[in-house]
């Protein structure tokens, strides 16, 4: 069953003050369904609308046109690099906050925090303010929190790329293990290896629409061919 369906979705941005660019269209007529148990890779060049697409999926932006529908009761977690934390609070406090904001009860959230701590392997930094963290450490905290907070759909925006090799492997294993049949992942990534090893399906976004869709290896080959 589809957890999330986009039908004929378009997004236009209005002109920004101080920018020479007028109103422009990011993409038009996108049709996409995300099924339970699926790991979907989204690839494309910078500025092709990958992050915008994730924000529409996360119900943060409304599309300029088209329909977005979520299966009833689906909870969505969006991970964006460097966002989502209160940097004056510690990793532990942020982990708790993340669980609470994703609808866990106070007791469940408190119980989930040690699990997050285990996963992130931040050591003593877990009790230090997040502004002392490196980009990779923030990515670990964000990913660990999202994995544990039981969101059914996890949208990952280039976050995994900054972790070190050990963490990337751990994140990959966790995504494969934890991703029970009722959950789904959308991964935006420039790392071809990651898309190949993790995703069950991929779409290539470019020139305002979906250029190619299907088996990751084939889509990556289209990507390489298209931008030769």
């Amino acid at each position: 069953m589809a957890l999330l369906t986009l039908e004929d979705v378009s997004m236009r941005y209005e002109p920004q003050p101080g920018a020479t660019l007028g109103e422009y269209s990011v993409f038009e007529g996108i049709d996409l369904a995300l099924n339970a148990g699926e790991r979907l890779g989204v690839i494309g060049r910078n500025g092709c609308g990958k992050s915008t697409l994730l924000r529409i999926m996360a119900k943060i932006f409304a599309p300029s046109a088209g329909q977005v529908s979520w299966a009833p009761g689906v909870s969505v977690s969006l991970l964006t690099l460097g966002l989502g934390f209160r940097t004056d609070l510690t990793g532990r406090e942020n982990a708790l906050l993340s669980c609470l904001l994703h609808g866990l009860s106070r007791v469940d959230a408190k119980n989930a925090v040690p699990q997050i701590a285990d996963f992130c392997e931040l050591g003593e930094f877990f009790d230090s303010p997040v502004h002392t963290y490196s980009a990779g450490m923030r990515a670990r905290l964000g990913f660990g929190s999202a994995l544990v907070n039981r969101s059914q759909v996890i949208l990952i925006d280039e976050t995994l790329g900054v972790g070190d090799a050990v963490f990337r492997e751990k994140a990959r294993a966790a995504l494969l293990d934890e991703l029970t049949a009722d959950r789904a992942v959308v991964l935006v990534s420039h790392a071809e290896a990651q898309v190949k090893s993790l995703c069950t399906r991929a779409v290539l976004l470019g020139e305002g629409s979906i250029l190619s869709s299907g088996e990751p290896t084939a889509v990556l080959a289209d990507y390489a061919a298209h931008y030769q």
């Binding site: 941005y13 920004q16 924000r55 996360a58 119900k59 943060i60 932006f61 409304a62 969505v76 977690s77 969006l78 991970l79 964006t80 460097g82 966002l83 989502g84 934390f85 209160r86 004056d88 609070l89 406090e93 708790l96 906050l97 904001l101 994703h102 303010p129």
Partner: protein
Amino acid sequence: MRMRGEARQYYLGYLWWLMEPMLYVAVFYFVFFSLLNTRQPDYLQFLMVGKLTFIWFSKSVNQAANCIEINKGLVAQLRIPQALFPVATVVEGFYRQAVVFAFLLAFLAATGYTFSAAWVWLVPVILLNAALITGCAMAAALLVCFQRDFRLLIQLGTVFMLFISGIFWDINSVQNAELVTWLMRLNPVAALIDAYRQILLYGSAPDAQVLLWALAEAALILALMTLAFQRLQFWMARRVITR
């Protein structure tokens, strides 16, 4: 949790909750009592009731002005009603103000202003004040979301309010009685400060008619803002994330 984070930034931590308003009182007292010879009876108490209640309004509204920007990370990642941010700011301000109120009442009691039946009025007046602050905080957050320039205008606006709301002078000392009524009707902050003084310093019930005006104004702002935040959820997210 945000308050914990904030208190941790400063060496004196939570002590600032009381120190900041009291430093203002000290400066005003020095200027108006010692230098300008204001001869309002019990000027220190008069000033404290005005300033310690006004700072609740000014601080909450100014903090709320920044709240959506500060929580940009959450706005960009979670679908939560954005009204939550100004409301959370107001709740934090309320905790701080509870400490300030406790201090103010203790100080008044220690200097001879004993409990009177009129103090019962504090309950509706504080609730009305909280409603007004919530509405204005939401408006401030929305305006800054629309254009950052409003942050400066809001700062200026609260300083302007500090002067016209009768904090260090008595609004009833304006000669024209009709003008006093209109000053309070059009500026609910002035009406509330006068009400606090009536209750705490003079032991009398505040002017109910003036408070009804303030109630109507607070309700109107709150209703408009609730509607605006519902309608503008997506627009605000885009505004904050893409600029």
